[in-house]
């Protein structure tokens, strides 16, 4: 099993602490939209995942993996498209944002691009490692 039940519960606690920390920080910095989003995240996380006391078995592990696959695909696609939209038009001159006026938008695009590339590299390495671990590179003897 990739993740033990103990580790899974620990991870759930850590995610909840992270969400609460983001909420407190956003209140402190007066970023109210982030506060609302983090509250929404906390409510969804607590009601759908954290309070779920059912026995963790192979079906639940399968469901968890499907959820991770789905979330990863959506996240990386969104980040990739966002980075493309934010970077490309600025350098080609047909942007809705005028070059120079919204430099921070270009910066966000560059950060997104780095993030996407990092995730792709991480995924490739993880795929290689797990494929090798489960006998994917073994030759017939």
């Amino acid at each position: 099993m990739f993740m033990t039940l103990k580790k899974y519960h620990q991870l759930k606690r850590e995610i909840l602490i992270f969400l609460i920390a983001i909420f407190c920080l956003s209140l402190f910095l007066k970023i109210y939209f982030l506060s609302v989003v983090s509250i929404l995240g906390i409510v969804l996380f607590v009601t759908l995942i954290y309070s779920n006391k059912q026995l963790s078995d192979e079906r639940e592990i399968t469901v968890r993996r499907q959820a991770v696959d789905f979330a990863f695909t959506i996240l990386i696609s969104t980040l990739a498209i966002s980075s493309f939209i934010l970077i490309l038009p600025l350098s080609t001159g047909w942007s809705v944002f005028d070059k120079g006026e919204y430099l921070y938008i270009e910066s966000i695009g560059i950060i997104f691009a780095y993030l996407v590339i990092s995730l792709i590299i991480l995924y490739s390495l993880a795929y290689f490692f797990f494929n090798r671990k489960s006998g994917g590179n073994d030759n017939e003897k």
């Binding site: 059912q54 026995l55 963790s56 078995d57 192979e58 079906r59 639940e60 399968t62």
Partner: protein, 62 residues
Amino acid sequence: MKNNLKIYRAKHSLTQENLADKLDVSRQTIIAIENGKYLPSITLAFKISKLFQVKIEDIFIY
């Protein structure tokens, strides 16, 4: 894939809860298998067949 889990469970007078306890899975998993919404792993399929003392193919129809 169809299966006869519900029939074998009824033959042995087991509730979904009892069967789940014996197989060390949740009741939701038993419901999902019976309704054909979840295909169990080969380990769980063997556990089920061993519990009912029948072959796997008697329970799971391919």
